[in-house]
């Protein structure tokens, strides 16, 4: 089988080495670039299956690299960023990054994010039914079942759930969700999102206070954890 190729764009040699060891062990084909320029050239010459991009690069901001890559590169881009930089993360996600991992990260978490992003990219977009451990969403009939029992959702609750589930594993920003569900003019009305997420959790989570499906990403958005 073809090994997934991953390009790491990070100027820190130690991080490069760590990612090499971690990802190679998981049977990925890893290469790295230390500067923005080198990274962009590499992606252009040998487009990898996934890019791990650090936001703090010596020659150019990671944000610029991201925007530049997104002009023609459509495969997953994961951001690796230092902590306490919510605004930067939100910006990167809104600019087309698929996910983010915060430094310091646990390697298990990183590998899981990489796998999810690759799986989502490979998944065909014409699935009619999504199944997660005890939750089934029929995208055609708009029916949701939990442990085989039909769950009654309002129209908005359903749109929210299907948006999250179709992007399983990926973090969706508040801004993105608001504009997708309610439209452009609602992008600052996050109170709607809070209320609906609360209602939705009561209907689909075993314990709404300890959600396992809809996870809060502080200051950024929500992520549907797709433990299939």
């Amino acid at each position: 089988m073809h090994k997934a190729q991953i390009l790491v764009i990070d100027d820190e040699v130690q991080i490069q080495r760590l990612l090499h060891i971690t990802l190679q062990r998981e049977d990925f084909d890893v290469s790295s670039a230390s500067t923005a320029a080198e990274g962009i050239t590499r992606v252009a010459q040998h487009p990898p299956d996934l890019v791990l991009l650090d936001l703090g690069l010596p020659d150019k901001s990671g944000h610029d690299v991201l925007k530049h890559l997104r002009e023609w590169y459509s495969k997953p881009i994961l951001i690796i960023s230092v902590q306490s930089d919510e605004a930067a993360i939100v910006k990167a996600l809104d600019d087309g990054a698929n996910d983010y991992v915060i430094k310091p990260f646990r390697t298990g978490e990183l590998v899981a994010r990489v796998r999810t992003a690759l799986r989502n990219a490979a998944a065909e977009g014409n699935k009619t039914e999504l199944t997660f451990s005890d939750l089934t969403i029929d995208l055609v009939s708009r029916a949701v079942k939990k442990k085989g029992v039909a769950v009654k959702l309002t129209a908005t609750e359903y749109s929210l759930l299907s948006l999250l589930a179709r992007n399983g594993g990926k973090v969706l920003t508040h801004h993105y969700m608001l504009t997708q569900i309610w439209g452009q003019h609602y992008h600052e009305q996050s109170q709607y999102l809070r209320v609906f997420i609360g209602q939705l959790r009561k209907k689909i989570e075993d314990d709404p206070n300890r959600p396992t499906y809809i996870v809060t990403e502080s200051g950024v958005g929500y992520r549907f954890t797709a433990h299939q």
């Binding site: 902590q83 306490s84 919510e86 605004a87 310091p104 309002t154 129209a155 908005t156 508040h174 996050s190 109170q191 709607y192 999102l193 809070r194 209320v195 609906f196 997420i197 609360g198 209602q199 206070n209 300890r210 809060t216 502080s218 200051g219």
Partner: protein
């Protein structure tokens, strides 16, 4: 903390410059009026003594220049109103001329000497305060460097052992060493996190980003995050029904609660109860974190939120957690208070007044 003006002594806060001059003029005028009233009973030479005492009294409290003004003014007043011929600045007797000069010189010497003594006293006080402060910060930096160097030492030591070819380690030892590295790194991360938060707060450019927050979600997220630490405790969560949504900075409030609960975890004995409460009263969000521990010594209450503060016999920590909490709460224009509970334990109460929305349920079916 260092504010010489507030230190108790026989000196108190000096009034502002302009007022000092006014005080001098009025006091000299007052003394003159009193002396005029006593004119029938006392000799004009005694008046000089009364004025001298007045100037000396002023010298005890005021700056040198206003006192010099008072000395000059009182000499002129004495000459004009009391030395014969009265109501003129001319002096009849040579003896009186000498007296006036003597008066003026004594008043000046008095003013200058008092001023010098006060300055010396101030220097001594500042020096001892400085020494106390240096000692205080040395203790603090010692604990901070201890907190940072211990995990670093562990990491370096453990990896040295693991890399050393000449030492043969069995599998269990290798695993133990690796576990130590991991624990040390996590501990270091926590301390660095605190130091970064502190620098953010002190940078002067720190700003919170408010958005609608479901407090229920906030509290459970923090508790979930602290689950491994809370395993050895009983946790009681009491969240008021139908709380509105509050405009808060989610990430920052997460850290506030995290630090408060973590503080309870490290400073109270295992198997006790940690209580987290949230309520909405009088338009304010109130968050309480209480424990069953020993509580805080009452005389240390005011130091608890001071940077680097460590309670007596503390089990470690950089002493930054609670001062970060205070800074973050104040960034929300809120307050935080500490009290000991009647039976045992301590309770922190965070009060924040912010925008709320009662949009609890939306019907869109």
């Amino acid at each position: 903390m260092r504010n010489a003006e507030t230190v108790k002594g026989f000196l108190f806060n000096k009034p502002p410059k302009k007022r000092q001059y006014a005080i001098c003029i009025f006091t000299v005028a007052g003394a003159t009026i009193i002396c005029s009233g006593l004119d029938k009973f006392i000799d004009y030479r005694n008046v000089a003594l009364i004025l001298l005492v007045t100037v000396s009294c002023l010298a005890m409290f005021l700056d040198i220049l206003p006192v010099l003004l008072a000395a000059t003014l009182s000499a002129l007043v004495w000459d004009f109103f009391f030395i014969p011929p009265r109501l003129t600045l001319t002096i009849g007797e040579t003896e009186d001329r000498i007296l006036l000069i003597m008066y003026f010189v004594i008043a000046l010497i008095n003013a200058v000497l008092t001023f010098k003594i006060r300055q010396m006293e101030k220097e001594v006080r500042e020096k001892s305060e400085r020494a106390r402060e240096v000692k205080f910060y040395n203790t603090l930096f010692n604990s901070l460097s201890h907190e940072l160097r211990t995990p670093i030492t562990t990491i370096i030591g453990a990896s040295d052992n693991l890399m050393n070819q000449s030492v043969r380690l069995d599998d269990t030892t290798r695993k133990e060493l690796l576990a130590e590295v991991s624990i040390a790194a996590l501990r270091l991360n926590q301390q660095v996190e605190n130091l970064l938060s502190m620098s953010r707060l002190e940078s002067g450019v720190f700003q919170i980003k408010k958005d609608w927050v479901d407090v229920n979600e906030l509290i459970h997220k923090v508790v979930h995050h602290l689950e491994p630490q809370l395993e050895k405790f009983r946790t009681s969560i009491d969240i008021g029904e139908n709380l509105p949504l509050f405009k808060l900075d989610f990430g920052i409030m997460e850290q506030v609660l995290y630090n408060l609960i973590y503080n309870a975890v490290i400073h109270t004995p295992e198997n006790t109860t940690i209580t987290i409460q949230a309520l909405f009263t009088e338009g304010k969000l109130i968050l309480k974190v209480a424990d069953n521990g020993r509580g805080f010594p009452e005389d240390e209450f005011e130091n608890v939120f001071t940077k680097f503060y460590q309670p007596q016999g503390s089990k470690g920590g950089t002493g930054l957690g609670l001062s970060i909490v205070k800074g973050f709460v104040e960034a929300h224009h809120g307050t935080i208070t500490l009290e000991n509970l009647p039976v045992c334990g301590a309770m922190f109460t965070v009060t924040i007044e912010t925008e709320v929305t009662h949009l609890n349920k939306i019907n869109d079916a």
